[in-house]
Symmetry: C2
Subunit: 195 residues, 2 copies
């Protein structure tokens, strides 16, 4: 392709294709340049090295995980329903991405382990959203906690089984959906204000 | 050694030594026989093949994990304190076993993945103990749930982050102790009866 038509999006798509073929550790800039029929230099104009490019691939994947959560944050429903919906979507979304494309899921899981910064930015965003929902619930008198930030982290931790890639194998369990619901019920019961 | 002095305990100790040296997949009966200075046949008299022997090694490890939980089950304290203490001990015990001997922990984690039966017997035992504590709490009116067995599984699942070997790396986090406490507080809040 004409290097002047090259943009970050096109490079990331080609990087994903290369990762699918060769795996994250064996993929290099040459493979991506070959797929796009451009020189190395054309790629380096957008990403200074392989590490930076892989970090960008990881960020894009993580943003695909968090995108479906954004409309939930904007909905004007009650905090209890919102927290339930948020946690269900987070767990379901990870599960469907492994079912749809298990090999790529594994590649992304490896990339995420190597991109600590992209991962911590992503997780911080999830914590902030959970904290926002919990604070709303405290304002409307349905939730009760001394520390909404700590509660956000706690709620996220209690659902780890359903959104950490290390558990992906367990998501094939046919009872997983009902287990997700039971854990969310327990969490909601735990955060709800006692009269 | 004289093969007549050989017993299962001695063989399991030697098997652990061989696993430490060669890893679970490369360990074979010859290595264990060499450590004990006995013939293969002497080992086969106690364990019919490598798979059966590794299963026994796994069972012994899992029983080391569950042994400290037994005195908690026998204590005569209130169900809330008992549930808290049970979950804390379960999480702490796994954490200290990885800190004390990280390489062997990893070996055991691999063995456990390959011994589905030993693992499911172990997990069933934990579920049964948790269910017993929850039932006691229902009898004394402190806990409330429609299905104590399901609640036992749910509580166990919500603490996965702290007892699944796949998470062992995260246990080095200096905040882990306080995170364990927050998740247990949330769980207890969730299972306690509302007035």
């Amino acid at each position: 392709m004409n290097p002047s038509g090259l943009d970050k999006e096109i490079i990331l798509n080609a990087a994903e294709e290369a990762i699918r073929r060769f795996g994250p550790s064996k993929t290099n800039i040459t493979d991506i340049a070959k797929i796009l029929k451009v020189s190395h230099a054309a790629i380096y104009r957008h990403y200074e090295n392989k590490a930076v490019l892989l970090e960008a691939v990881t960020e894009r994947w993580l943003s695909r995980v968090s995108r479906p959560l954004e409309p939930i944050m904007k909905e004007n429903n009650d905090p209890e329903a919102k927290l339930r919906c948020y946690l269900k979507t987070l767990c379901q979304n990870k599960r469907s991405s492994v079912i749809e494309d298990p090999e790529m899921f594994e590649n992304f899981a490896i990339l995420t382990q190597n991109s600590k910064e992209a991962l911590s930015t992503h997780v911080e965003q999830l914590f902030a959203q959970l904290e926002e929902i919990i604070r709303k619930g405290m304002e409307t008198g349905v939730f009760e906690t001394d520390d909404p930030r700590e509660m956000a982290v706690t709620v996220f931790t209690a659902t780890s089984r359903f959104h950490y890639p290390a558990f992906a194998k367990e998501w094939e369990n046919p009872n997983i959906e009902s287990l997700v619901n039971s854990v969310i019920d327990l969490i909601l019961n735990g955060v709800k204000k006692r009269n």
